[in-house]
């Protein structure tokens, strides 16, 4: 059980290496071994979505994956979203439209939104609900999250148009 495995993966575009027990989750490895505590744990059983990261570009629940399963893969976390000081439009929109209160669900919400807008740049309200249906927020009542997603979509569209 205590044998350590060396796992090489790419995190936010940079090569990383961790030594972990086989039972260590990807979320714990990101948080504890790589110091990326922006990935939050709200349930550790795959329901709340707070731990969402991008795995080879697709949103996954990092509490349900073992770190060893990430060997050779590319993981994107909330910390990798801004380009230096320049926030991602989705990050900006969440602040502008008050799409967060305590901010605990926010990294997962933002990454799920980034994925949605990548595939569906102008989502309908139903499409937004579909995409964020697996991310629980206990604070906001979701209305301002929906507005944030719509705001981000609009900002990204006008950014492209420029």
């Amino acid at each position: 059980m205590n044998t350590l495995h060396t796992v090489r993966l790419t995190v936010n575009g940079t090569a990383a290496e961790v030594m972990v027990e086989a039972r260590k989750t990807l979320a714990d490895a990101l948080r504890e071994d790589l110091g990326l505590t922006g990935t939050h744990l709200g349930c550790e059983h795959g329901v709340c979505g707070a731990c969402t990261v991008l795995f080879d570009g697709n949103p996954v629940r990092s509490c349900l994956l073992f770190a060893v399963q990430a060997a050779g893969h590319e993981v994107g976390t909330i910390e990798g979203l801004a380009r230096g000081d320049e926030l991602h439009p989705v990050q900006r929109a969440f602040s502008e439209f008050h799409g967060l209160q305590c901010g605990f669900c926010t990294p997962g919400m933002i990454l799920a939104t980034v994925d949605l807008l990548e595939h569906t740049p102008q989502p309908s309200e139903d499409e937004i609900k579909e995409a964020l249906g697996g991310n629980i927020c206990r604070c906001t009542g979701y209305q301002k999250i929906i507005e944030s997603v719509q705001g981000a979509a609009a900002a990204m569209a006008s950014g492209l148009a420029k």
Binding site: R23, L36, L81, F94, I136, R138, T140, G141
Partner: protein, 785 residues
């Protein structure tokens, strides 16, 4: 108005957001320290059992384990006190670890510290606890039966208290409740059941305790809403001076009341840290949270209302049984007391009688949660009004109009003993009805029914007693806490402003809100005001701690502290400008001689002089700072009205919310953007409790809802679009006219939905008198033919 005036009322974007949207927040789970070790807690698998012994020897031998504690190691360690000791309530306290007996599934029995959380959990499996199971009681009915197993033997039975609220008028004279019922044209009776649910923040509880060998002091990083109160309670449990404990709070991932309470784990991490002389961390997992953090709300209510033919409610009387769980936790009985004094709502009901009975059961202790007994009352009152309307054949809106306390009748002394400061209840109802187009909906309803669409319209009016409350009143009702907030404001030698608050941000945007108030008062840029919070060694003592509706009290404290600092600036500025203080005013970020704007000093000029102290008025002390402790003069009563429009599917019992209109009035608004967020979040949480959420136990006291697969939080699919409208009736008591608003959204969803579903199913005579209103419940209420 210049750019630096009028910060109160502005839609300012939050300063809290920048780290949070980048994953740079610092929550308890994110904290780490050199040499840190990890705690895990062994919890009772039995709802009720004698604890014959706990053998920890195998766990101690596991490599990586540093220490293990059971109750046998806790000599000299106290119990967590009950904070709300209503006169006549039986004595109780919360042990740090169960001794002799366990009383609910999840009760802490032993704790382990190890090199990692994984190893600590491995060690738990090696602890052998020997139990002798006892019969259990899992609801108030069985707890009260003759011969029922007694949970707290010293009590003799399972009743913690029977408390009577006699209806009184403004002079304290009793009303005539029997007369009211004798004179009634109709009497409506109901038995309501309020479900057991709770705040369930997305972040669980978390702690890091660090013993400092140099000072022999303890620093506790804690996801607490109530750092100062936690310090006070820990000092008494651990038997150490309060001055040796420093409590600091990192970012909190929501609180909603459940992080207001103190818990056994708070003491355990401190004890381990003292014993091991190293930092000890504990992060609650979700399963632990659902079975180890307080539950709330559960009540059975038997109530009746006396109604006159014209719709006047002549009186309300009845009993409330509160399911307290296995221990009286912190405020245990308090929320039920609030329900018991609040059932007359916003109506002119003069005759009243209510008995509140606190009952122990083998379940998780029940305590603080957003709304604090108020939503339980709102559900009952608003259902009774609806039933009264049916009994005398009037429209429910009409019956509300008939009975509202009128805007010119304040201050109003409620029959439950409350004093209401201000309100315009009819305006809130009319606005909501107008927005939803009530008359049209009613006209449409019959036609839709003919087409097989069962549409219902449900009104839920509420009042919310916020800004809890004048300290002397808390004393009168046995609440061993206080209602004040302190604030210190320091202007540094450069003129920069820092405010220190005992409030702890839970996610509402407290920092932004309080900075707006200070910027407004000093006429400076909002970004130039720093806010310091979350450290008992720096911030003023708060009597109460953070709650959703406390920013009004903290804001008032800042207004008053700003006054102290501005007055001092005027005195020093007048001296420097060689004018009389009466001729000098504070304006637009500085002081100036009235009528001579050229004779002016900025706050920075004054601050510099105040710190140099080379030339101060006679008797004036150097530096520029001020502190004010604001104890609310009275409660402030926020209010509003929700209207739900629903369609009920007769086949499945499914309730679809077609429209949801909210009118809220919480006095002066500091930041409309954040108020909207608070109200929407509160409504969503209220809808969760109304439709989905419930802690479910089986007949043996096993908790069945131990994951988010079973305890259902509302997702983006379940929360409808909320049409929110804000009105403003200021409070005459609070400086600034503020009322609390963070809890208000919670109050009415249960009532509005139960009324709407009952209205939709009127042709079948269905009455929805309990929550959660699941499809199963609705289906089971429908006639089976």
């Amino acid at each position: 108005m210049s750019a630096n005036e009028g910060w109160i009322g502005r839609r300012v974007q939050r300063r809290e957001d920048l780290p949070l949207i980048q994953g740079k927040g610092r929550f308890a789970a994110d904290l780490t320290m050199p040499d840190m070790v990890h705690m895990a807690v062994l919890r009772s698998p039995h709802a009720h059992a004698r604890l014959l012994g706990v053998d920890t020897s195998k766990a101690r031998e596991l490599p990586g384990v540093f220490d293990v504690l059971t109750s046998a190691d806790l000599d000299g360690i106290g119990e967590f006190p009950v904070l709300w000791q209503l006169p006549g309530q039986k004595a109780s306290g919360i042990p740090v670890l169960a001794r002799d007996k366990v009383r609910y599934v999840g009760e802490p029995v032993a704790a382990v510290v190890a090199v990692s959380r994984y190893v600590a959990e491995d060690a738990l499996e090696l602890i052998e606890a020997d139990y002798d199971p006892l019969p259990t009681v899992v609801d108030v009915e069985s707890a009260l039966k003759a011969g029922a197993p007694v949970i707290n033997e010293a009590w003799g039975d399972n009743v913690a208290i029977r408390h009577i609220v006699p209806g009184i008028d403004a002079t304290g004279k009793a009303g005539d409740i029997d007369g009211a019922f004798a004179a009634a044209d109709a009497v409506v009776k109901a038995r309501f059941k309020i479900n057991r649910f709770s705040g369930v923040p997305l972040e669980t509880r978390g702690l890091v305790a660090s013993h400092d060998p140099l000072t022999h002091g303890l620093t506790l990083w804690s996801s607490s809403q109530v750092a100062h109160k936690q310090r006070t309670q820990l000092a008494s449990v651990l038997g150490v001076p309060e001055s040796s404990i420093r409590v600091m709070t990192p970012n909190l991932g929501g609180g909603f009341g459940v992080k207001w309470d103190c818990y056994p784990e708070d003491a355990l991490v401190c004890l381990f840290s003292q014993r091991l002389q190293r930092p000890v961390k504990w992060i609650e997992d979700r399963r632990e949270h659902l079975m180890g953090t307080v539950h709330a709300r559960e009540q059975v209510q038997e109530l009746e209302a006396a109604v006159a033919r014209d719709g006047t409610i002549l009186g309300i009387r009845g009993k409330i049984w509160a399911d307290l769980g296995a221990h009286i936790h912190s405020v245990g009985i308090g929320p039920a007391w609030v329900t018991g004094v609040s059932l007359t709502g916003q109506y002119r009901i003069k005759n009243y009688y209510c008995e509140v009975i606190g009952v122990a059961t083998n379940k998780v202790p029940s305590s603080t949660f957003r709304g604090f007994g108020g939503p339980e009352a709102t559900f009952a009152t608003e259902r009774l009004i609806e039933k009264a309307a049916r009994a005398v054949g009037l429209d429910p809106a009409e019956v509300r109009r008939k009975n509202f306390i009128q805007p010119d009748e304040f201050p109003w002394f409620s029959a439950g003993g409350g004093v209401f400061d201000s309100g315009n209840y009819p305006a809130a109802l009319e606005k909501a009805l107008e927005e939803v187009d009530y008359d049209h909906l009613r006209e449409e309803q019959a036609g839709l029914r003919a087409k097989g669409v069962y549409r219902g319209i449900g009104i839920g009016c509420y009042i919310h007693t916020s800004g809890f409350g004048p300290s002397f009143i808390l004393g009168l009702v046995g609440y061993n806490t206080s209602g004040y907030e302190g604030s210190s404001i320091k202007v540094d030698p450069q003129g920069g402003i820092t405010i220190y608050t005992g409030m702890i941000p839970l996610g509402q945007g407290t920092e932004t809100t309080l900075a707006q108030v200070a910027a407004d008062q000093f006429g400076v840029d909002f970004n130039d005001v720093r806010v310091v919070w979350g450290d008992t060694s720096q911030t003023p003592y708060t009597g109460f701690g953070s709650a959703g509706s406390r920013s009004n009290v903290a804001a008032a404290a800042i207004l008053k502290a700003a006054e102290v600092v501005r007055d001092k600036s005027i005195r020093i500025g007048a001296h420097l400008l060689e004018a009389a203080p009466e001729d000098v005013v504070y304006e637009n970020g500085g002081v100036q001689v009235k009528g001579s704007p050229e004779k002016r000093l900025t706050l920075g000029d004054v601050a510099k002089a105040a710190y140099l102290a080379h030339n101060l008025p006679k008797g004036e002390l150097p530096t520029l700072e001020g502190t004010y402790v604001y104890d609310p003069a009275m409660f402030t009563i926020a209010f509003g009205c929700h209207v739900a429009v629903v369609d009920v599917d007769l086949e499945t019992g499914e309730v679809k919310i077609v429209r949801y209109v909210v009118v809220d009035d919480s006095g002066t608004i500091i930041n409309p953007l954040l108020v909207e967020g608070q109200i929407q979040g509160g409504v969503a949480m209220g809808l969760g409790g109304a439709l989905l959420e419930e802690f479910v136990y089986d007949e043996n006291g096993q908790l069945l809802t131990t994951s988010f697969m079973d305890y259902l939080l509302p997702s983006i699919h379940e929360v409808p679009h909320m049409e929110l409208h804000q009105q403003v009736t200021v409070s005459p008591h609070t400086p600034g006219g503020f009322k609390g608003m963070g809890e208000a959204g919670m109050f009415s969803p249960g009532a509005a939905l139960a009324n709407a579903v009952s209205d939709a199913l009127l042709p079948f005579g269905v009455e929805v008198d309990r929550m959660p209103i699941t499809s199963n419940l609705v289906w089971s209420l429908l006639p089976k033919s």
